[in-house]
Amino acid sequence: MTNAIVAQGLVKHYGEVKALDGLDLEVAEGTVLGLLGPNGAGKTTCVRILSTLLKPDAGSATVAGHDVVRDAKALRRLIGLSGQNAAVDEHLTGFENLDMVGRLYHLGRERSRQRARELLEMLDLTEAGDRITKGYSGGMRRRLDLAAALVAEPPILFLDEPTTGLDPRSRISMWDVIAGLVRGGTTLLLTTQYLEEADRLADRIAVIDHGTVIAQGTSDELKGQIGGERLEFTLADAAQLGVARDCVVPLGIGEAVIDQHSRRLSVPVTGGAAVLVEALRALDAAGVELQDVGLRRPTLDDVFLTLTGHAAEEKESQDDESETTTTQTRTTTKEGAA
């Protein structure tokens, strides 16, 4: 399979700060790569270089066979970009926004209008299409921004944190839309802070920190690497910890961790809720009294703790993700009037 996106040794500085530090990346044609990392890891910088908005200080990248610096203009016909800022013109209607983008892709008047209507329909914005986007909700804006990226039916799509700042319902509907696109064979590079999102949408995941890829693989490979899910129990009586361990360890995939002081026991597992139910039966049968119980899925924090030894805390000064704008969008978001 040929690679639609290849990046080699990308370096980008912002003054003193090194946003990208020799980043290598490959995305096979027709697949989805999830670029996973915390704020400031270099995700946005990477997308901006690959989508021709920024020039790298060193290294090179080709997208669809075009060099991102030398063939920038030719490449722009083949890519769609949807950023985390929801870059729609708030004084235009949804339709006008898409029509304008179509004209700037030089689709011509008729085709631009037709495409605008198709996309409004596809992203469930038909009803809102003739309203000014200022009144759109955060989720609607994101969908419109995504629609703008799809106007020219680009074979390669970059989505930069498409669901950051969205409420859970909007997030799930966004996922459905993106999953639908991918089935159509589009090559997609998606950045996200959420493991769950990468898990759901991406064929492969690259974990990025301090401007380099520190781990990559399929979702399962990566989860294996970071330990996957854990069952956690808090017992009523610390004396029963030994009995409890004997019950649950056979169900798990690794050693149990016991904390006498907090009467806690945890064990790595695969299989989710089904394993939890089995464990509860076994513990009940053994007469172990429980105070609390839970199935903990790995979070980005776990990935980071495991892979880098440091937590995935936010680093504001080196932040290349314009977090302020996101916050602004979030706070000014209004529910679109029916």
Binding site: L53, G80, A86, D89, E90, L104, H106
Partner: protein, 267 residues
């Protein structure tokens, strides 16, 4: 498609987008029109009561100066709007499209000409009410208006560069205020420069704002033998001197702004 035609088509698309915004945010238009009315009235009646301009009377003297000052201030809107587009990520969207890089800037500066046309019409009408008259021919007067607009267009490109450089609409406004205020006041806009202290007079006489003002005054017929222009080349030949500035500014700031646009990133 020919690259130039393509750029023109892209410019038209962007211009249309900007004009829609004028229509959708009528507050903008209200201020575009109210402010010049206020200026004309304030200067005509407050300063006018204290300043005696020989030959033409203060109100006739004043109008060309107010025209020049208002359109120069109006040009900050170009920088303000671009900084705003940059901040909101709209420029990122444009830059990811296969459009001509110059189109966003030409579209912006061209649609901002409309703002200035509206201001000029409103100011001219207010001027006529308070006693301003065109004493030359219609053609000369139109050339006068065109020259003021052309000068404003050039300043617009300076502001475009500033807007793309500083990236914050608020800073564009505040920073340009600091520059534009002295530039439009240390000039012949509101008072004759004859009695200014030496260095200020020299600055005022070579100030391009003075030149466009003097040119407009002459083209409107608002000059008098009782108040001859200062005996320096710039004031004796205000039209060519203004045009030199226009060409110079455009030659520098069009390429500079386009280059800055291509680098600009909202971060």
């Amino acid at each position: 498609m020919n690259a130039l035609l393509e750029a023109a088509a892209d410019t038209a698309v962007i211009t249309k987008r900007n004009l829609i915004k004028i229509k959708r945010v009528p507050d903008l238009l209200v201020f575009t029109t109210l402010q010049p009315i206020m200026f004309v009235l304030l200067f005509a009646y407050v300063f006018g009561s204290a300043i005696d301009v020989p030959g033409v009377g203060y109100r006739e003297f004043l109008i060309a100066g107010i025209f020049a000052q208002t359109v120069v201030f109006g040009s900050t809107f170009t920088g303000y709007s671009l900084a705003q587009d940059l901040q909101k990520g709209v420029i990122d969207r444009f830059r990811s499209l296969p459009m001509a890089p110059s189109a966003v800037l030409f579209g912006r500066t061209l649609s901002d000409v409309l703002n200035n046309v509206i201001s000029l019409i409103v100011m001219a009408l207010t001027g006529l009410v308070v006693g301003w008259r065109i004493r030359s021919s219609v053609l000369e007067a139109l050339v006068g208006f065109a020259l003021v607009l052309l000068f404003a267009y050039a300043i617009s490109w300076v502001m475009a560069y500033v807007g793309l450089l500083v990236r914050s609409p608020e800073i564009v406004n505040n920073a340009s205020f600091i520059v534009i205020f002295p530039l439009t006041f240390i000039a012949n806009t509101f008072v004759p420069t004859n009695n200014l202290p030496g260095p200020l007079k020299a600055f005022a006489d070579w100030n391009p704002v003075s030149a466009v003002t003097q040119a407009a005054r002459e083209l409107f017929g608002n000059t008098s033998a009782a108040l001859p222009p200062p005996d320096v080349w710039s004031m004796q030949h205000p039209v060519p001197y203004t045009l030199i500035w226009v060409v110079l500014i455009l030659a520098i700031f069009i390429p500079l702004s386009i280059r800055q646009y291509q680098r600009a990133a909202s971060r």
